[in-house]
């Protein structure tokens, strides 16, 4: 499992790894949350809806109960009111009755003014005497109130709460009301002989129900315990059969909620024990689903936005994280190719990568130092080598010259010995004692001239020489004592064994960026084999060859592999040796 994981996560770059793992993490978190919300969504929506509608129903019930119990209180007050009884049952003279009537109607007026929801309030005697609101109200003569249920039932001594109906007892007044009526007992006969009634404005109940907002299509209605509709927003549609409401089902359902047979409507019922009315809230399951789908869509949208955000963040994060790594890698690549001269900033990031960068920087710095040290050491080594070679050449020259002097002394050529010795001493003073590594070509030519003077003494007419060096070459610096050994070599190996006159020609000229000095002799020349080996040091220093090899080594040590000594030779015709040095001014 872990192996598979690491295999899966083996991406080419850290950034991809970070972005992907980030995204995978966010996706799974979002998915888990979405799934939970999704699966719990339905339950939650239904339970919220149930709570909400139930609360609303109970609130409506409480409000209605408050109204009704207020009316009941008023009714209790009025049916026990002595004035009311006297007005209805004692048939006193008209004058006194009018006074009592005044008092009662004043009371009614106060009640109606304090409670706008009371439409009518009145008392009616069995004999036809009545008092409604105030004394100026006349009854609707076309209506027989004796036939009204609320009147009949009240006369039986019951407290009646009607369903909603049009109150037509007052002339020219047709108001939708709910009527509460009570019987009034005649204290003399002990029988119920009058009726008190109070009409509660129906708009109070309807607006109470209409004010309830149960989503778009949801609605609230009220039925009484007989199944009569007190309020229903689609009352007319129900009567005309356009819409149906299964009242029986509602009445048989004691509180709580249930799903209607159509599978869409959900009924929430709450019955008031006080009024016997049942408040029914109707919600549509499809509408709830719609809401839920909306919520779900919101989840999806949110998830997508989160994903986009997470991806962007992951890219930014990983970029920020991998950028220094990448730079570090770039620097390392440079170093790999051998360029140590890179500029690495001191990272201010205090994280691992910062430390890494700093360490790398320090490492590069140390390597550079090592290289620097190495160079200095090499230089020192080269110099000491050079000095060693120099030291080698001096005695070599001395031996040769001293050999000549000996040879001349043997021949008793005193004059020549003196001349040569003085020339030697001059030469030594001029050159060998000179500590400088570099001298001008002109100086070198001078040495050679001195040397040739000495050699001419020895070889007499057998040695001729010509020197032709360009003006600009004369001032060019050159490692010292490079020409003399070559000239010496030309004499000893070229001219010495030649029969007849030998000629040494020395020329100096500029060729491109180089200065070339050629020493040409018309001596014996060399075989190919010898030519090949002339510059290669084989075995311990051979005194005969030491000169040429020494010069070549020194030139190469001094100027690099591109410079040095080159031989061209043909057997029997002569040898040309060229020195190439950089043209320095």
């Amino acid at each position: 499992m872990a192996g598979l994981m690491s295999k899966l996560l083996k991406f080419k770059s850290i950034r991809t790894t970070i972005v992907l793992s980030f995204t995978v993490l966010i996706v799974s978190v979002v998915l888990i949350f979405a799934t939970i919300s999704y699966s719990r969504g339905e339950k939650v929506v239904f339970s919220i809806a149930t709570d909400y509608v139930t609360q609303l129903n109970e609130q409506i019930n409480r409000n209605i109960d408050t109204y009704i119990s207020y009316m009941e209180n008023v009714a209790q007050l009025e049916i026990n009111n002595e004035d009311v009884k006297e007005y209805l049952f004692t048939y006193a003279d008209a004058g006194k009755r009018a006074v009592i009537g005044e008092t009662i109607s004043a009371q009614f007026s106060v009640l109606r003014e304090t409670r706008q929801d009371i439409h009518n309030i009145g008392i009616i005697g069995r004999d036809g005497s009545y008092l409604i609101n105030d004394r100026y109200v006349t009854m609707n003569k076309n209506v027989d109130y004796h036939r009204m249920e609320w009147f009949q039932e009240a006369l039986k001594g019951n407290t009646v709460l009607t369903t909603s109906h049009v109150q037509n007892i007052v002339a020219d007044d047709y108001q939708w009301v709910v009527t509460l009526s009570n019987g009034i007992t005649n204290p003399e006969t002990g029988r119920v002989e009058g009726v008190f009634f109070i009409d509660l404005n129906y708009s109070l109940i309807s607006s109470l129900c209409e004010s309830i907002d149960l989503s778009n299509r949801g609605y609230v209605f009220i039925v009484d315990d007989q199944g009569n509709i007190i309020y229903h927003p689609k009352q007319q549609l129900i009567y005309s059969g356009v819409r149906e409401e299964n009242i029986e089902e509602i009445l048989s359902n004691k509180g709580g909620s249930y799903l209607a047979a159509d599978g869409d409507k959900i009924y929430f019922t709450a019955k008031s024990e006080n009024t016997g009315w049942t408040v029914v809230g109707v919600s549509y399951k499809s509408e709830m689903m719609e809401q839920m789908n909306e919520t779900r869509r919101m989840y999806v949208v949110l998830a997508i936005l989160l994903l986009v955000l997470a991806t962007v963040l992951a890219v930014i994060f990983s970029n920020a994280l991998t950028k220094p790594i990448k730079e570090l890698r770039k620097s390392m690549k440079e170093v790999e190719t051998g360029n140590f001269d890179i500029h690495l900033e001191d990272s201010d990031a205090m994280n691992e990568i910062g430390h890494l960068q700093n360490s790398f920087r320090i490492m590069i710095y140390k390597i550079r130092q090592l290289i620097e040290n190495n160079k200095t050491e090499q230089e020192a080594k080269r110099k000491s080598e050079l000095r060693a070679l120099q030291a080698q050449i001096n005695p070599h020259f001395l031996y040769n010259t001293l050999d000549s002097i000996i040879w001349m002394a043997e021949s008793s050529k005193t004059e020549e010995v003196i001349q040569m010795t003085s020339a030697l001493s001059k030469l030594l003073r001029k050159s060998i004692s000179n500590e400088d590594e570099l001298v001008t070509v002109e100086r070198e030519i001078d040495y050679v001239k001195e040397y040739l003077t000495i050699q001419k003494m020895r070889y007499q007419d057998k040695l001729e020489y010509e020197i032709h060096v360009d003006e600009e070459v004369l001032k060019v610096p050159i490692a010292k004592l490079v020409l003399q050994p070559l000239v010496e070599n030309a004499i000893y190996h070229g001219i010495k064994y030649k029969e007849g006159k030998g000629l040494i020609q020395i020329t100096g000229f500029v060729r491109g960026a180089d200065v070339v000095i050629q020493i040409k002799d018309n001596g014996m020349g060399m075989e190919e084999e010898k030519l090949q080996s002339i510059l290669v040091q084989t075995g311990p220093a051979d005194s005969k060859r030491v000169g040429v090899q020494n010069v070549h080594s020194r030139l190469q040590l001094y100027y690099g592999k591109d410079y040095g000594v080159r031989y061209e030779s043909k057997l029997g015709e002569g040898t040309t040796v060229s020195i190439t040095v950089p043209y320095l001014r």
């Binding site: 049009v166 689609k234 009567y239 005309s240 991806t311 890219v315």
Partner: protein, 324 residues
């Protein structure tokens, strides 16, 4: 290296853009298009009939989550005004235009333009002479007329003189009610002496009825709409003939109901205006949300007498309650 970076940025931008576009699309999808309906009734809600009808229409609009706009001409006789409003409604490009045409003929040309504009056309209450509508929701006026005739037939004899106070000549409702009335009367139909027109105006109705009463010894008077009924009843009461003449009214208003209570009217036929409005808008919605819908709906009528006027189902129709 640079190229890859650009590719990654482009990919990220594309993904982000796709995500946002997708999200926006989902959000947009939630708001399914609500049907937009304009209703042009015959007139401004002056009578209980129109109040009920509009209330029913609004209930249906609420229930179906439709946008309902109601623009009414001032008077039932204002055919010009109604035509103008229909033309204005076409400009607004609703899904459905619902009309209660004031004239059988004179609204026809304008209503044809509704169809031409590709807008559904639903009639409520009344029709035009040509069937260009997508559906009609109305009281079956012929049946309503028959109910009047059948009631009259039971209470008259061969010597009874019968008069009719109609409303607007050539209007579909007037013609159909009259036809139903005549058909139900059967042989008695020949006893109809004259048809007068109130032009849906109380005063004209009163005057015309007065003329009728003076001209003939009327025994039975059938009034074909509310204005005609109230106008005629005022005349009858003024003549002192309340309760003497068998009067049958049509539609309802407080005044008409009082006449019924007093016994001036023996019976009135009322339309289920609320249902009509409700079913009208419901059909309008169906006409754009469903493939098929009923083309002809009778919203119903009922005959109410003094004895049953306070029955729960009847008082609901007679005294429409709309939260006042």
């Amino acid at each position: 290296m640079e190229k890859r970076k650009i590719l990654i940025i482009i990919a990220a931008v594309l993904i982000a853009a796709a995500g946002i576009v997708f999200s926006v699309k989902i959000i947009m999808d939630t708001g399914t298009e609500r049907p937009y309906i304009i209703y042009i009734p015959k007139r401004k809600s002056g009578t209980d009939f129109w109040v009920s009808l509009v209330a029913g229409a609004e209930m249906a609009a609420k229930e179906n989550e439709a946008i309902l706009e109601i623009v009414a001409p001032e008077e039932e006789t204002d055919i010009e005004g109604q035509n103008r409003r229909i033309l204005e409604a076409i400009e607004k490009k609703p899904d459905v235009i619902v009309v209660s045409p004031n004239s059988l003929e004179k609204n026809l040309e304008v209503l044809k333009q509704v169809k031409k504009a590709g807008i559904r056309l639903i009639y409520i209450d009344s029709v035009t002479s040509e069937n260009i509508q997508d559906a009609i929701v109305a009281t079956d006026n012929y049946q309503a007329g028959r109910k009047m005739g059948e009631y009259a037939k039971k209470n008259i004899d061969k010597s009874s003189v019968i008069g009719i106070v109609s409303h607007v000549k050539n209007s579909s409702t007037a013609e159909e009610r009259e036809k139903g009335f005549r058909d139900a009367l059967g042989d008695y139909a020949s006893q109809i002496v004259e048809v007068v027109y109130s032009n849906s105006n109380y005063d004209i109705g009163y005057q015309e009825a007065m003329k009728l009463l003076e001209k003939y010894d009327i025994d039975c008077l059938a009034c074909l709409n509310e204005n005609s009924a109230v106008g005629a009843a005022r005349a009858v009461v003024e003549k002192g003939l309340g309760g003497e003449i068998l009067m049958i009214g049509f539609d309802n208003s407080t005044e008409e109901i009082k006449f019924l209570e007093e016994g001036v009217f023996s019976a009135i036929v009322v339309q289920r205006a609320y249902s009509m409005g409700y079913l009208g808008i419901e059909t309008a919605v169906k006409s754009i949300t469903q493939d098929t819908w009923p083309a002809n709906i009778d919203s119903g009528s009922l005959l109410i007498t003094k004895d049953n006027m306070y029955d729960p189902e009847n008082q609901e129709v007679l005294f429409p309650f709309y939260g006042n």
